[in-house]
């Protein structure tokens, strides 16, 4: 493996990430590895390794990191975050990284679908007449499933 030149990495990456909501504590990490040891995903997919992800952030390996598919494999169980002695909110950091990847157009295909659904109907699952009929049968109140304002709200 060719050595990576530290000077070619982006030392500002960690500072930028720390300015994002949820990323504030990132620089506190002292690489103890509790996050990785407790991560359930890491047990199945060792490539997803919180300690190493943080290390990549601190060293400024933005370009390589944001492309990684494994960023999307976190199950957001918050175990890492709750057991971190240095109070790094790593689950939140994952969200920040994903947001950053999205901004660079690096989100996995298909993720935009969720947003489109919300744009259109304000819900992940459409509630139409069929659904309301079923609800009625069960004695449950009707739900008016149209939220016109979401499209406006989510306008860039």
């Amino acid at each position: 493996m060719d050595p990576i030149d530290l000077k070619k990495l982006d030392p500002d990456f960690k500072h930028r990430l720390a300015r994002e909501l949820g990323g504030e504590q990132i620089k506190k990490c002292f690489s103890c590895g509790v996050c990785s040891a407790r991560c359930p995903i890491e047990k199945i997919e060792p490539e997803y390794n919180p300690r190493r992800i943080i290390r990549m952030i601190l060293l400024g390996m933005e370009e390589e990191l944001l492309k990684e598919e494994f960023l999307w494999h976190c199950s957001t169980c918050y175990t890492c975050q709750e057991s971190c002695p240095q109070e790094v909110d790593f689950t939140e950091v994952i969200f920040v990284l994903r947001n950053m990847a999205v901004r660079k157009g690096l989100a996995p295909a298909g993720l935009g679908a969720a947003r489109n659904l919300l744009d259109q109907q304000g819900r992940m699952y459409e509630i139409g007449d069929f659904e309301n009929e079923k609800r009625k049968e069960m004695g449950l109140p009707e739900i008016k499933g149209n939220a016109k304002d979401y499209r406006e709200l989510l306008k860039d």
């Binding site: 994002e20 909501l21 949820g22 359930p40 995903i41 199945i44 997919e45 999307w72 494999h73 976190c74 199950s75 957001t76 169980c77 918050y78 175990t79 975050q81 709750e82 909110d89 689950t91 939140e92 969200f95 920040v96 994903r98 947001n99 999205v102 989100a107 996995p108 298909g110 993720l111 935009g112 969720a114 947003r115 919300l118 304000g122 819900r123 992940m124 699952y125 459409e126 509630i127 659904e131 079923k134 609800r135 069960m138 004695g139 449950l140 109140p141 739900i143 008016k144 939220a147 304002d149 979401y150 406006e152 709200l153 989510l154 306008k155």
Partner: protein
């Protein structure tokens, strides 16, 4: 006790058994749940894409509840967790709040930060309380045993979840199961995640996660896995067939909602509680239970 009832996206379409049983239990215990017409998605699905967008959506729902002057009760742990998280961010971060309120103007709403968000189970545990529930138990579920599944977003992140349970040793659901007369099982994978969040990205990964827990619960025996979140239900109930295939193992772990369990103990019948909609039922439990009367 009056709450704005936040159903979220999944429950009113896919988990009517949860909704039915929760409404019934609430009525029975004097908890008034008010349906607000304009409640929509909590915003959590947007968090990975754009945190600010997701907070705007959450704030919209919170502002609606504020208008009604009611605290929010959620059935879904992800909704409850995310609305609480948004509430906390916006209450503590003034700049963020004004940014979000700017965006909310198109809906004619303003987020103020005056109300609380609580999960349905937390309301049972904290507001109604174990003792009052105990007094109302008419058909104790003696002899049956269940594995509680707390799920992640019900108790974590602790900072915004309100400290209902110590994250390493949660107790509320266990106690709530035990007050029905049933036994709550202790097991190694108790704190494990269902994997629901990864389902859309990498199904196999999600199934492996859920499979670990289902295998252990299957080994434990007992009468099923007790859930409090529709997200977890997707993994443990809907995916169970696929997981069986993956593990090459019959699991047949019955899955039910806590409100269904409590409903039975409070004296109503399985139909009222939507048991018909449960895909994997413990027939022995349901028949055994009926035979007692």
């Amino acid at each position: 006790m009056k709450y704005a009832f936040f159903l979220g996206c999944t429950v009113p379409v896919r988990n009517l058994n949860y909704e039915l049983s929760a409404r019934w239990v609430a009525r029975e215990l004097g908890l008034e749940l008010v349906d607000l017409e304009d409640f929509q998605c909590c915003g959590f699905p947007l968090k990975s894409l754009n945190l600010l967008d997701s907070l705007v959506v959450a704030a919209r729902n919170l502002a609606l509840a504020e208008q009604a002057g009611l605290p929010v009760c959620t059935l879904c742990s992800a909704c409850g967790g995310f609305l609480s998280e948004a509430n906390s961010h916006l209450q503590h971060n003034h700049d963020l709040k004004s940014q979000v309120n700017d965006r909310l103007k198109v809906s004619g709403l303003e987020y103020k930060g005056t109300i609380q968000v609580k999960h349905f189970i937390r309301i049972l545990y904290e507001e109604i309380g174990i003792e009052r529930i105990r007094e109302r138990i008419t058909r104790p579920l003696y002899g049956f045993s269940f594995a509680p599944h707390y799920g992640c977003h019900y108790i974590k992140p602790a900072r915004t979840a309100g400290g209902i349970d110590p994250v390493e040793d949660p107790k509320s659901l266990t106690e709530l199961i035990e007050v029905t007369g049933a036994k709550a099982l202790r097991y190694e994978t108790l704190l494990d995640c269902c994997g629901g969040s990864v389902l859309g990205i990498k199904e196999d990964l999600a199934n492996t996660l859920a499979g670990n827990k289902l295998s252990e619960v299957n080994r434990l025996g007992g009468n099923g896995l007790v859930l409090i979140c529709p997200f977890c239900n997707v993994m443990f109930e809907n995916q169970q067939k696929k997981i069986e295939k993956k593990l090459e193992q019959k699991l047949k772990v019955p899955v039910l909602y806590y409100s269904q369990l409590l409903g039975l103990a409070l004296g109503t019948d399985p139909d009222t509680l939507g048991f018909k909609l449960n895909r994997i039922k413990d027939k022995e439990f349901l028949t055994g239970f009926e035979r007692r009367d």
